[in-house]
């Protein structure tokens, strides 16, 4: 079982602040982390490896600093790491990113066949949730999104059975390998790295691929050129101006409070009485 896990390095959004006056993002000193959603897919892949044996390769496209994210993945137990980095990738949107990653995965396959590709549900910076499906389409892999549990893998028949969160319920799906899985958050909890793996991560020789090594055939499909998305404006939504109101009655009895509250509600929404009457009939 060879699983490729795609991880992205993102700014720690918990530490980004929007300036209250200028509405601009305060980037100063914001540390980079592994996209939190990707940790769920990495842990899931590692569990499969623990149970069924095999190999986990982590793959990331990004600037040279993304090395840290890959080393972190190794400290958790990934076997190998590949960083796809080249100035030519700068400005890639989801279309270009999935093209580049798909191309890199094809290169990985030349060494060891890939049974599954794992991706996070989405990132916390781009938030599009498009890259996983984009890779699947390009590699002509079956696609399982929003997976909340891996029930079973049948090594002999090369099938996988998963639970998938869908609107209004959980689907149980079985499909043939190879396939691409995007894992839902909260599916598992990332393990605590052992010291042996910390040493391995610190010493591991990363594979760094430029666009040639990543097997990019058509350079018009990567970077800015390959990215039809245009971000025309980024802004923070203006906070609502509605204020909380403190309701005070003379007696402060629950009943009086309720009556006052209802009276307020009905004055604020004149149609409320009508709506209630309509629904009741």
């Amino acid at each position: 079982m060879h699983i490729v896990v795609c991880i992205k390095q993102v700014p720690d959004s918990a530490q980004i602040r929007v300036h209250p006056v200028t509405n601009t993002i305060m980037r100063q000193g914001v540390p980079a982390i592994v996209n939190p959603y990707d940790l769920y897919s990495l842990e899931e892949a590692l569990r499969i490896k623990d149970q069924y044996g095999g190999r986990v390769t982590v793959l990331s496209m990004g600037p040279p600093q993304a090395e840290t994210a890959l080393r972190k993945a190794i400290s958790f137990g990934a076997d190998d790491a590949i960083l796809v980095t080249d100035r030519a990738f700068a400005g890639s949107d989801t279309l270009a990113t999935s093209y580049a990653l798909a191309s890199a995965i094809r290169q990985i396959e030349k060494d060891i066949p890939v049974d599954m590709v794992f991706a996070g549900k989405q990132t916390i910076d781009g938030d599009t949730a498009q890259v996983g499906p984009g890779i699947a389409k390009r590699l002509d892999m079956l696609l399982l999104t929003y997976v909340s549990k891996i029930r079973d893998i049948d090594l002999e028949n090369k099938t996988i059975t998963v639970e998938r969160r869908a609107e209004g319920g959980v689907q149980v799906l079985k499909t043939k390998l190879p396939c691409l899985v995007t894992v839902l958050e909260g599916t598992n909890e990332m393990r605590f790295a052992t010291m042996t793996n910390m040493f391995r991560a610190a010493r591991h020789p990363l594979k760094v691929w430029d666009k040639e090594k990543a097997g990019i055939e058509d350079v018009t499909k990567i970077g800015l050129k390959g990215s039809p998305t245009i971000v025309s404006k980024v802004f923070a939504p203006t906070p609502k101006s509605v204020r909380a109101e403190i309701i005070d009655t003379e007696s402060n009895q629950p009943k009086d409070l309720a009556v006052t509250l209802l009276a307020k509600l009905f004055t604020k929404k004149p149609d409320l009485a009508k709506d209630i009457a309509k629904n009741a009939s």
């Binding site: 605590f192 010291m195 042996t196």
Partner: protein, 432 residues
């Protein structure tokens, strides 16, 4: 399989980085463990870097270190509630290279330093806490970290884990810190456009200013305030002895908030985007509070060993210097084929005694006690000095001689003549 190194350095602050860098550069097999997410992640923002100490570790550091501004002006303010009396020293000499002092942002600086350490060949492992020292009798033989398979061995363990070294305490090298030997300091950074910083302080592109403050801002507690200019921000902070905070039941945050409303300080930081507070302990017990600093298989450097000169606000340079001397000691012993025994490691103590580090700490050894038992230095005097200045500078028809008489009367009224003479003598002795 057990991992074994020539040296393990616990901590990736200035002291640990200096030691690890020199050891690795000398070809030793070095492991450095840092509990933070990355070096600098746990360190307070904004500080003064003293070039000399770093130069002796990395001579060409100016080529790529993230330096903010070199200091061209130093101010000292004595504050009352509404006013301050100050002196300023600014010199064109400070604009001649090589510069002597810089402002830095510690998070960036520590990251840079750590990169040098790793390039020199040391193995760095972050997000890992050393929880115990491994002992063979009295001898330290390695460390235990908070991870599975966490025993790692070495000929020497260098404790560079900063103030309040839990490891040293656990191993019994160090008693519990006395609250009167540590200050608690808070800092915050206010981002301002580069031009605004330069206009407010009348400085050029790479020039910087340091303001040291004493007086009413510490509300009678023993401590100081400070303000530095960075490239696009201003660092402001205040620190007081932990024992005083306990007594007064104030928090450092409240103190800093109050300080920022002072009419002399408020306009300097006005309009800045504030980045959150960082609070940190500073060991300020001085010479008399220095614990045992070496033993069989271990050495202690930096804040862990109480190497801070509180009078001159020097810490990181003492950290780097002790880190360097520790490394030099270990390298010398290795080269001579000697064991890392307490007796052989005493060379470290000799090197320290010979350096400015111990000499300066010795010089001020009585300072902490004097200030502890004489709170008037932080309350009465600032008030009197400010009143005197105000009186002399107000033109109101009263002759200057009468004003002088009144000022003298104020001083003696608040503090007896003997008290005044005694204070002057104490201070003179302490600085002598």
């Amino acid at each position: 399989m057990d991992e074994k190194f020539d040296a393990i350095v616990v901590g990736a602050g200035p002291s640990g980085n200096s030691a690890a860098y020199l050891l690795a550069k000398a070809g030793l097999k070095v492991l450095q463990i840092e509990r933070g997410e990355y070096p600098g992640s746990k360190n307070v923002q904004g500080a003064i870097l003293y070039s000399d100490a770093l130069e002796r570790v990395i001579p060409d550091f100016r080529e790529d270190a993230p330096l903010e501004r070199h200091i061209v002006e130093q101010q000292m303010w004595v504050l009352d509630d509404e006013s301050y009396v100050g002196n300023t020293y600014r010199s064109a000499e400070f604009n001649k290279e090589p510069y002597n002092r810089y402002t830095i942002i510690r998070a960036q600086f520590d990251k840079w330093f750590s990169k040098k350490v790793q390039d020199a060949g040391a193995l760095l492992i972050c997000e890992t806490t050393v929880s115990d020292l491994l002992m063979d009798g009295n001898r330290v033989i390695g460390i235990q970290v908070d991870r599975e398979g966490g025993a790692v061995y070495a000929d020497i363990v260098i404790l560079a884990d900063g103030v309040n070294s839990l490891l040293a305490k656990k191993a019994g090298f160090h008693p519990e810190l006395d609250p009167k030997d540590v200050a608690l300091a808070v800092k915050e950074i206010h981002f301002l456009p580069q031009e605004t910083v330069q206009e407010r302080f009348n400085i050029g592109e790479d020039e910087g200013v340091v303001i040291e403050m004493v007086g009413k801002i510490t509300q009678g507690m023993m401590g100081t305030g400070f303000l530095y200019t960075n490239k696009e921000s201003i660092t402001i902070g205040v620190g007081c002895m932990l024992s005083d905070f306990k007594k007064q039941k104030t928090t450092p945050y409240a103190l800093l908030e109050q300080m920022k409303t002072h009419p002399a300080i408020k306009p300097i930081i006005a309009g800045g985007e504030m980045k959150e507070y960082t609070a940190h302990l500073i060991p300020e017990g001085g010479y008399k509070a220095i614990p045992k600093i070496c033993g069989d298989g271990w050495l202690m450097v930096g804040d862990a060993a109480m190497f801070v000169n509180a009078v001159h606000r020097e810490g990181s340079n003492l950290a780097m210097t002790s880190g360097r001397l520790a490394a030099e000691t270990v390298i010398a012993l290795k080269e001579a084929g000697k064991e890392m025994t307490a007796a052989n490691l005493a060379l470290y103590r000799e090197k320290l005694d010979d350096s400015f580090l111990m000499k300066d700490l010795k010089k001020y050894k009585n300072m902490p006690e004097i200030l502890h038992s004489n709170p008037q230095f932080f309350t009465t005097y600032p008030e009197l000095v400010n009143r005197a200045a105000h009186s002399m500078l107000t033109v109101d028809g009263v002759d200057k001689k009468s004003k002088e008489r009144e000022i003298r009367g104020n001083f003696v009224g608040k503090r007896s003549l003997f008290g005044l003479m005694g204070d002057a003598f104490k201070l003179w002795r302490a600085f002598e």
